[in-house]
């Protein structure tokens, strides 16, 4: 179980893997996530589902190697297996529950940032397959860090590329692109931002300025992912919510991002320590 079927390095440290997990693949919907535990001693790492194929029995994950655990995940090769992959977790995106009549008048625009670009793909694909108007703003620091370009091109009506340094497409951040498009007359009905917490915060501020509803996908700390530990608690609309079972997607206008960012950094000192002292286990015992 949980064998890696394919692996592709999208950038020097962002890796895309297709993993065998038949039950998960059959049940997954856009917006949901899964948890990977690479080996017996590994952490349970939540990752948004980037694609799923029920017929093949596989799910796709995209991981950025930053900490000790994500580096471990990325170190696995085709043919090797993860110890555990569990899911789907969380509630599917709102649109999965909408009727075709409701969806017909919608025009979605996604703001995808960094590794958050990958989970935009199944959402955009689902919307396009259901005949909904969908555009994607893909932001990266520079052109070499752009991921999922071809996949997204096929899965949406318009793909807008933005880079911080202007090495490709619009020079500036995704939120600035959103403002530009709206000012040019695009009539979006729903914004969805997936990416680093800080990007989602600023996307929400922009959406508020433009008077648009926005959905964000919160990548909080988690242990079990089933509602048991409460590590993922976030304040949404003044109430404590568990991102794992009540999210991960929430109305961005209601989210306390500053608190969420502070809570996300709760184990930073320990993580830095693990990263420094971690003995790489590549190739050992598997």
């Amino acid at each position: 179980m949980y064998k890696i079927i394919s692996k592709e390095m999208l950038t020097p440290n962002i890796c895309k893997m297709e993993v065998e997990a038949p039950r998960l693949a059959a049940a997954a919907k856009p917006g949901q996530f899964l948890i990977v535990r690479a080996d017996e001693k590994g952490e349970r790492i939540p990752l948004t589902i980037s694609d799923y194929d029920a017929a093949k029995g596989t799910v796709t994950i995209v991981t950025q190697a930053i900490g000790a655990s994500s580096k471990d995940i990325v170190s696995y090769e085709v043919g090797e297996s993860f110890q555990d992959v569990v899911g789907p977790l969380g509630i599917p995106s709102d649109f999965c529950e909408k009727t075709p009549e409701e969806l017909a008048s919608e025009h979605y625009v996604f703001i995808a940032g960094g590794v958050g670009t990958a989970p935009v793909y199944p959402q955009a694909k689902w919307l396009k397959e259901h005949g909904v108007k969908v555009d994607v703003i893909l932001g990266a620091r520079n052109k070499d860090l752009i991921i999922y370009r071809e996949a997204l091109e096929a899965a949406c009506d318009h793909l807008y590329i933005c880079t911080d340094d202007g090495s490709e497409g619009f020079k500036g951040v995704g939120t600035a692109m959103l403002e530009k498009l709206v000012n040019e007359g695009e009539k979006f009905t729903q914004v969805v931002a997936i990416g680093p917490m800080i990007m989602m915060k600023f996307a929400t501020i922009m959406a508020a300025k433009l008077g648009l509803p926005i959905t964000v996908s919160l990548n909080t700390l988690m242990v079990d992912g089933t509602g048991m530990c409460g590590a993922c608690r976030v304040t949404v609309g003044g109430k404590t919510r568990f991102a794992c079972v009540e999210g991960p997607e929430f109305d961005g206008h209601q989210v306390d991002f500053d608190e969420a960012m502070r809570r996300q950094a709760q184990y930073k000192p320990e993580e830095a320590d693990a990263n420094e002292h971690h003995v790489c286990k590549i190739g050992r015992g598997r």
Binding site: A27, K41, V86, P88, L89, T226, G230, R262, Y267
Partner: protein, 461 residues
């Protein structure tokens, strides 16, 4: 004639030493000690201990086996009623059950029934290797959701009746609360818990981990698509409660569930495991149950100066007496008649203190316990950098939400009758998923009752 000696003490790790490690606190009896303690039993004609046991183990008879030195016989007698003696001998609140009703306890000390049960369970593990049972299944398939005490007990009985049983577990490891909740120093995982699970697998029970009921599969998909004829829901009470006071979102505030899951399931206390844990320099644990004691003693072992904050007095602590005693011995501080009203943070959003209010005991409430009342104007601060909330748990609503026809109570538990039958035919439930947080032995009892009811249900089809 019973031997009128004092209760035989069980050997324990030195408190100073064990406060710095995660090895088991109590060593239990050896054969000689067990036989000596067994000689104290009066072998009452109407044993009150058996009546007080939630699964009615024939206690005088198993103790007679121990006394004769026939530990195999003792093990067989326990096995008629309990599938988890090594676990229950360690974690049951014996003082409220068997030992609490022992005649010897009226004037002196009760027979150490828990320690004897543990001895017999451990003897079996060491002397009776787990062997796969060759059995023709009756072809009827039953799905069990959750591999905690309720699910394991239900699976065990159904397998013995010939059913083809599959347990689905959401986490990566089987055992439920035995794996993620109760710490190593009270319940060793690789020996005790794993052996209980191995015994159940040896009965032909299949365990599929990483399957979340309500997400990966649903009760409907199991019944309609996978060919199961009945489902037992033993998913426990997993959702942690918080107090709802200001400051609970500060960094350094954890649920006991998070703290214990990191430590027990993810083995964060071990250098070679990657999951981080933070006990801080000073830890406050809010609550008075077994979970609070477990969290406090875990924080202490991780190096934090630890205080339990509880709104009633030590007499009312719901935890097992032995755990409270052990916590004291190890150096956990107890701030009784104290209740947090706010958690205070520093400028970076980390906990710096807990503002508490002193309490006094007022009139007894409906449950007979005297309810704590705030003393106005008695607020004070306790400096701390970690707060662990251990206020109990409630059932996870996921299954009720994703299954048509399952009714829940106001508190979120599944509605089930005495036999475990829910409001939907073919779906049974038991343990904390029905009652809310309770004990291992009650969950096990409920699992066994449901197994009998499932057997009757399938035969009636």
């Amino acid at each position: 004639m019973a031997n009128k000696i004092a209760r035989v003490p069980a050997r324990e790790q030195d408190p100073k030493v064990r406060a710095t490690n995660f090895e088991e606190v109590c060593y239990g009896y050896n054969a000689e000690e067990a036989m000596l303690e067994a000689s104290r039993c009066l072998h009452c004609k109407n044993p009150r201990c058996t009546a007080a046991c939630p699964v009615n183990i024939n206690i005088p008879d198993f103790i007679a086996g121990v006394l004769e030195g026939d530990f195999g016989k003792a093990a067989d007698i326990i096995a008629q009623d309990s599938s988890l003696p090594s676990v229950c001998g360690r974690v049951c609140p014996q003082e409220n059950q068997c030992e609490g009703s022992c005649i010897l306890g009226i004037k002196g000390e009760s027979v150490a029934i828990g320690k004897l049960e543990r001895f017999v369970g451990d003897w079996s593990r060491e002397n009776r290797p787990v062997q796969a049972v060759e059995r023709q299944t009756n072809g009827h398939r039953v799905a069990i959701l959750g591999s905690g005490p309720a699910g394991l007990a239900c699976a065990n009985d159904l397998a013995k009746l010939g059913y083809d049983v599959t347990i689905f577990e959401a986490l990566h490891k089987a055992g439920g609360v035995l794996a993620y909740g109760i710490p190593e120093f009270r319940l060793p995982k690789d020996t005790v818990v794993q052996n209980e699970i191995d015994k159940i697998i040896a009965q032909g029970v299949k365990i599929e981990t990483n399957v979340i009921a309500g997400r990966t599969v649903t009760i409907d998909s199991l019944l309609d698509e996978e060919g199961f004829e009945a489902v037992f829901v033993g998913t426990g009470a997993g959702l942690p409660k918080f107090m709802g006071i200001p400051g609970e979102s500060l960094n350094g505030v954890f649920s006991a569930n998070e703290f214990l899951t990191r430590n027990n399931l993810m083995k964060a206390f071990r250098e070679d495991y990657l999951t981080p844990i933070r006990a801080g320099r000073k830890a406050i644990v809010v609550g008075g149950g077994n979970v609070a004691m477990d969290a406090a003693r875990t924080a202490l072992r991780l190096g934090a100066e630890t205080t339990i904050v509880y709104r009633r007095t030590e007499v009312e602590l719901p935890a097992r007496k032995e755990e409270v005693h052990h916590a004291h011995e190890e150096g956990v501080q107890f701030a009784m008649l104290t209740n947090p009203v706010e958690i205070l943070g520093d400028e970076k959003g980390w906990v710096r203190a807990v503002k508490c209010i002193r309490m006094e005991l007022g009139e007894p409430d409906a449950s007979g316990r005297r309810s704590p009342v705030e003393i106005p104007g008695s607020e004070f601060e306790i400096e701390t950098d970690t707060v662990i909330m251990s206020l109990g748990t409630s059932p996870n609503p996921l299954i009720a939400k994703t299954t048509e026809g399952l009714e829940t109570t106001r508190r979120g538990g599944l509605v089930a009758d005495e036999s475990g039958a829910t409001t939907r035919p073919g779906v049974f439930a038991g343990g904390d998923a029905v009652t809310g947080a309770a004990t291992v032995i009650l969950a096990m009892g409920a699992g066994r009752k449901a197994a009998a009811a499932i057997d009757a249900y399938i035969k009636s089809l």
